[in-house]
Symmetry: D2
Subunit: 109 residues, 4 copies
Amino acid sequence: MDDKNMNCGELSCSACKRHKKAPRSEEQIRQLKNRLARMVGQLNGISRMLDENRYCGDILMQIAAVESALQNFGYIVLQDHLESCVTEEIRGGNQEIMAETIELIKRLK
Amino acid sequence: MDDKNMNCGELSCSACKRHKKAPRSEEQIRQLKNRLARMVGQLNGISRMLDENRYCGDILMQIAAVESALQNFGYIVLQDHLESCVTEEIRGGNQEIMAETIELIKRLK
Amino acid sequence: MDDKNMNCGELSCSACKRHKKAPRSEEQIRQLKNRLARMVGQLNGISRMLDENRYCGDILMQIAAVESALQNFGYIVLQDHLESCVTEEIRGGNQEIMAETIELIKRLK
Amino acid sequence: MDDKNMNCGELSCSACKRHKKAPRSEEQIRQLKNRLARMVGQLNGISRMLDENRYCGDILMQIAAVESALQNFGYIVLQDHLESCVTEEIRGGNQEIMAETIELIKRLK
């Protein structure tokens, strides 16, 4: 796809895919994907709890655990975003990146 | 396992599995499992976005979407818990169920 | 005002004031008002920090402290609500109180 | 106080008061203090509701309203922080400001 050339900071439309200028390291991608895989495992565990007619309170505890894992995952991606994309954009003179950043923060739990 | 006979309201230990006295309907289980399956799909989508070196801001938007879906899922299970288990326990004279309930609410986002 | 006779569980309109059937104890009211007074003190402290041109990061730490205090305050009122009004309503056969309760929980942080 | 000379970005200790390099405008301070005053008014309103033995559900709605007002207030201060202090620090070559920023974000609701 030729939209591969579109990087953070360039004009974008909702239909096209934006990319990260400074790619994540393989190690970083591996760790993030491990976290996602663990959360998928937790959600599948909740699915089995429903099949086993498990107590709501125990299911709610598992939901709370996935919520925490997901929030931490979000913080890791946000910190990387602040330290790479946002830092670059500010150095490059892009003033609007902070308004975009605050909107992202508002959407996260 | 013989702990299958242990229901909400009975004494429990962390090692054994508690069950829901009034089982969820098949339709209810189907809908809850559909929601879980959609969230698994969203997490797998985020995994692919990492492989494709997608922009952090777009990944953060997806994380926020799963957080909302997970929070709504938690509210549905909590409402069911309040309307079934908690209501039964109170009618049965169990006073402690509300302290347990507030602890669950504090853990949820 | 004659709406003083309207208690939790009775039909209400947005214009009238509903009251708590089982009044809070004087000690409970005193403790809750102390918490409110401390939060007012913290907000006034933030106001002074603005006058003194204090660093945003330090102001944000104070905001986070008030948010935690307010959330804890909400949990205390919610627990009291669950253990008094909600418990009474359920014992009295009011089924709808749980739907109202979940709406309140959704609004709280 | 001679700590008046300590600005954001300089080494600081918990005992001393840090200040904002680029001071907030008078208009900005006025608007922020108005928001704080409104929240103080709301907390005092909750205090009166306790005196009037008001229904927990109505008090919880007011708590939720202050929580939202406080969260919005936090976002305004955070956005100002990102657009002034954080932007300046990054332009000045301070790499650690983003780690501090993520810690602040984690503490806010």
